[in-house]
């Protein structure tokens, strides 16, 4: 080939490539983690959400140490710990469980053991500290219903190892503590996704960790066999709306209360309202179909959740399970 022709072609191709660049350029790549990586989202200056470890994890950091809400799966706990260590060297003091599902409590043991009890003994009586606490590890705090679900009656095998079980269980509707200069309320929701749900409300940070009552990636899982109910789910979502404050009156100036759902992205009150409305509307549609005498199969065939399936029903079986849970919840003999 003639050298000048070769040069000419090279220039033409170069020009063509550069000429196309402005048109083919992606405006901006999303800063998202690869599959299997954790996504650490800064919620407030002292508060983070870790996604990708099973259920979402809330991380409050302050001079008292680290308070975790939920622990993700057991398999992810090493990566979660590494992610926390990148944020702070301060010890984990509490792991607070919002429910008893494996993707929320699976990391309890490892994360608690990596932490340190608040009963640090200045006189050096380590034996006393060990005796009073979880072997000197961080406390695992939950409603008693979580402990019951995670443990087993005497003589039967527990679904979780002993060192993953809550070390501090409460029976009341509300448990309050103060860590890192802010009030923290653990608010029991008696019959929502199951009978073992709690919200954890950080009053200073203005963040609520909602657990599996709200799953932004799918219809809510309502575990009827373990005490969940559609009305309890709606009641819990209404409570969550009540806890969260939108950014009115200067709505465009900032954000309101943040809500960390069990799965999916960080939310505000508006997303909770959307989610509550969806649950109420599907409930009303199914209630009307039951009133018309339709069977469960007929109701499923009529697609009562159709308007929401493209958003919340993409996981296999999610729509069917939701419809069935509502049906059972509404037709249970009292």
């Amino acid at each position: 080939m003639h050298p000048s022709k070769t040069m000419s072609r090279i220039i033409c191709w170069t020009v063509a490539v550069f000429a196309l660049l402005p048109f083919s350029a992606v405006l901006s790549q999303a800063a998202e983690p690869d599959n299997g990586e954790l996504d650490v989202v800064r919620v407030r200056p002292n508060f983070y959400m870790i996604a990708g470890a099973g259920g979402n994890i809330g991380v409050q950091i302050g001079s008292d140490g680290v308070v975790l809400v939920d622990a993700g799966t057991e398999n992810a706990s090493g990566r979660v710990l590494a992610a926390i260590r990148k944020l702070t060297e301060l010890p984990i003091r509490y792991v607070i469980d919002t429910n008893a599902e494996a993707d929320f409590v699976g990391g309890n043991a490892k994360l608690a053991k990596a932490g340190k009890t608040i009963f640090t003994n200045g006189l050096g009586n380590a034996a006393l500290a060990d005796a009073m606490t979880n072997g000197g590890a961080a406390a695992i705090l939950s409603h008693d219903s979580v402990l019951r679900r995670m443990s087993a009656p005497t003589g039967k095998k527990s679904p979780f190892p002993d060192d993953a079980l809550p070390t501090e269980a409460f029976y009341s509707k509300r448990y309050a503590l103060r860590m890192n200069d802010e009030g923290i309320e653990v608010l029991y929701q008696p019959a929502a996704h199951s009978d073992a749900d709690s919200f954890v409300f950080f009053r200073g940070s203005d963040v609520v960790v909602a657990g599996d009552v709200m799953d932004k990636t799918r219809f809510p899982v309502i575990d009827i066999a373990n005490g969940g109910s559609i009305q309890g789910e709606i009641d819990a979502l209404n409570k969550l709306i009540e806890l969260a404050i939108p950014p009115t009156p200067f709505i465009y100036k900032g954000v309101g209360t943040y809500v960390i759902p069990g799965h999916g992205r960080l939310c505000e009150q508006m997303e909770v309202v959307d989610y509550r409305d969806m649950v109420v509307i599907v409930r009303d549609v199914i209630a009307d179909m039951i009133k018309q005498g339709m069977t469960l199969d007929q109701i499923k065939a009529a697609s009562p959740a159709k308007p929401y399936e493209t958003q919340y029903g993409t996981q296999e079986g999610a729509t069917s399970a939701f419809v069935e849970a509502i049906y059972k919840s509404l037709t249970v003999k009292k």
Partner: protein, 297 residues
């Protein structure tokens, strides 16, 4: 021949190498020319008029369940529209740049907000969009780039909203691409919404503005929640097949249901041929035009 090719190549290379030379100033006040889709942008569309919207089934069903009382829910009164309200609303625009104080380089273009829409910042500094787990806010997150003298802005992380103010929904997974084209004192915006939750195809609208010396507001007033007849916790909606307005467009304009309920097919001119035998021109309107026929609603 070779010399000609090289000259052309060099010319193209120069054009590509100095795109900043072609950038134009968008700043100023721009008054909306509302002749386009006047009824939709002004008084608002008729109930259940979704012709020309590329709905999927979920989008149509969601729209049919919509009750206008929804916007009177105390939890929703102060919610803003998404940036799609630039297309769906009647308002004018105030545009300004935010420049680096040292270099003068434009870091961002900002579109002022209005009563129901938050200001929109178009980041020009190459920053990435936030992760999929980041919160969605009233403004969404927008980045921009110049192609010659045309600015293209791409918005993600929006909240749920409406494509049309009669309940045609948009999801929080929707994205909006806005192209800004200035021709002298005229500014044209082409807006494209893509929504994997409710649409089967992109939905496209254009809007025109004219430069004005009259200042346009940079932000709307505060919003106070008041009682508008819907108690807190109540969720107004229509059950399937119970929407009383489903044949509204047929009653008023003789537009058949298959057209008014939307779908991608209804966006294209061929669709008129399909329904031409079902359409009877209504009698000339002499009174109360655009409203329901008395006694039929």
């Amino acid at each position: 021949m070779t010399r000609n090719k090289m000259s052309l190549s060099l010319a193209m290379l120069l054009c590509v190498a100095f795109p900043a030379l072609a950038e134009i100033d968008l700043s100023g006040s721009w008054t909306a020319k509302n002749h386009e889709d006047n009824m939709e942008r002004g008084a608002g569309p008729n109930p259940d008029d979704w012709a020309g919207l590329p709905f999927n089934e979920a989008g149509r069903e969601k729209a049919l369940s919509f009750s206008q009382s929804t916007i009177s829910m105390p939890e929703r009164i102060c919610w803003f529209q998404t940036q799609w309200h630039i297309a769906a609303g009647p308002f004018s625009l105030k545009i300004w740049s935010e420049n680096d104080p040292l270099t003068g380089k434009i870091n961002a273009w900002v579109l002022g907000g209005w009563e129901t829409r938050a200001p929109m910042t178009i980041w020009m500094d190459g920053r990435p969009h936030p992760s999929k787990n980041a919160p969605h806010d009233q403004t969404g997150f927008t980045t921009g780039s110049w192609n010659g003298d045309v600015l293209t802005a791409y918005t993600t992380h929006i909240k749920t909203g409406y494509m049309r103010r009669n309940g045609a929904p948009s999801s929080d997974q929707a994205t909006i691409t806005i192209t800004f084209m200035r021709h002298g004192d005229m500014l044209t915006l082409a807006l494209v919404m893509e929504d994997p939750v409710y649409l089967t195809e992109p939905y496209i609208l254009t809007r025109s503005y004219m430069s004005t010396p009259t200042p346009v507001a940079v932000a709307g007033p505060p919003c106070i929640v008041g009682y508008e007849g819907v108690e807190e916790g109540r969720v107004p909606h229509y059950l399937p097949a119970k929407n009383p307005f489903i044949d509204e467009m047929d009653k008023i304009y003789h537009i058949p249901r298959e057209a008014s309920l939307g779908g991608a097919e209804t966006m294209y001119p061929d669709f008129r041929d399909k329904i031409k035998d079902k359409f009877v021109i209504p009698p000339k309107c002499t009174r109360n035009c655009g409203a329901p026929v008395p006694g039929q609603n």
